[in-house]
Symmetry: C2
Subunit: 230 residues, 2 copies
């Protein structure tokens, strides 16, 4: 019996697809074939055939609309959350216990998440004292797969004059993470938007800890999550 109460076999590949669909389908929208293919680094054709397989399983793991994309069913969502919990716990473990840098943990966790046992997950969760956030500030689903709530917006949407604290950073691109470290931006960093240019979508931002000003393009400001300060 697998964790979703069925006796279905879930391959590593399927786990990766579920995760990709989860991350790509912001609730209202369906995840498009293209988006999934890009995220997974496979062909459009491969995605189509996998979506058909996932939709054909009993129970179905995705709800697939030909030519329009797919979203997870409740069963698929639980499976996805289970993998995301593993991934994020692993990231934190690698970071806190094995001294990996925050730009290194994602790739390693991506491989480990498919092979560790439930006992391993449980043990690192205990060692880390049942944490809520991973090294990039993303929420870690609890044992019963509830997501800690966050209240953040993209730095991109923070208006001129507004203050905020960095709460999360996308972990997709290690070089972005290294770049932010160099700029002095980390989780918890407080900042104020000094100006925004709609011409090039650049934000000029002042880091409150150091007083330094930096100019950040949309390619960066959309990858940073901010909690607004009054």
């Amino acid at each position: 019996m697998t964790p979703n109460g069925t006796s279905m076999e879930i391959s590593q590949t399927v786990e990766d697809y579920l995760k990709a669909i989860f991350e790509e389908s912001n609730p209202p929208t369906l995840a498009s074939t293209t988006a999934i293919a890009e995220r997974m680094g496979v062909t459009l054709a491969s995605v189509t055939s996998m979506l058909k397989k996932l939709a054909a399983k009993t129970p179905a793991l995705v709800d697939y609309r030909k030519h329009h994309g797919a979203k997870l069913t409740p069963e698929g969502t639980l499976l996805a959350l289970k993998i995301i919990r593993r991934h994020r716990l692993l990231e934190l473990f690698l970071h806190d216990v094995l001294a990996f840098e925050w730009d290194e943990v994602h790739e390693e966790a991506d491989r480990l998440e498919h092979v560790i046992s439930d006992a391993f997950v449980q043990r690192i969760a205990i060692a880390l004292d049942d944490p809520d956030w991973d090294p990039h500030g993303h929420p870690i689903p609890s044992v019963d797969l509830e997501m800690p709530q966050e209240n953040t917006i993209q730095l991109y949407d923070l208006k001129s004059g507004e203050n905020g604290v960095v709460r999360w950073v996308s972990d997709r691109d290690p070089s972005l993470l290294r770049h932010l470290t160099e700029l002095g931006i980390a989780l918890g960093t407080r900042l104020e938007v000094r100006s925004f240019s709609s011409l090039d979508e650049n934000h000029t931002v002042r880091l409150l800890e150091t007083g330094e000003e930096v100019v950040l393009g949309a390619g960066i400001t959309r990858q940073i999550g901010i909690q607004k300060l009054d």
Copy 2:
């Protein structure tokens, strides 16, 4: 470029075969198709076809003699040692850092060994202070893949009246490990052979720490490694 200086791709399956062949080919003998198949839990036919593939690679990873078995080439041996290093470091890490029992570590390490990065290996090696022995007392190949030397015999071969210290225990069967724990036998346990019955191949052994006497069959005494005490 892979660690053996070639640009060969090594699949997880191939890694498992190399490990199995290494463990099954005590230097003089070839590993037989049957032995490999049993160890891997696959069909004889599967082994034959894989041996042919491994022998056909450039460089060849095994030296294969039709109808007689196979042994690793120097290239195959290096790859096998690399995996065995990972496996044993992982076992020790799971045991010492994550509090896994000695009967649990083998299975987990078997899955993890194929996916961890070299950086991961390096970090746990450092965290464990470059150890020589895994939780079952097996030698851990060094960074340059040298095996620490051991000087042990099977408990089976310890004669009546002789003393010894338990130096290793086979990790193939978790239930054996649990059984030994219950009997009070662990690495470092000192003991004396009181008698051996050639009728049923039972050894009667006295544990020097507690004075207790236990009777152990060949199924157990062949799985225990002893360093003789004069």
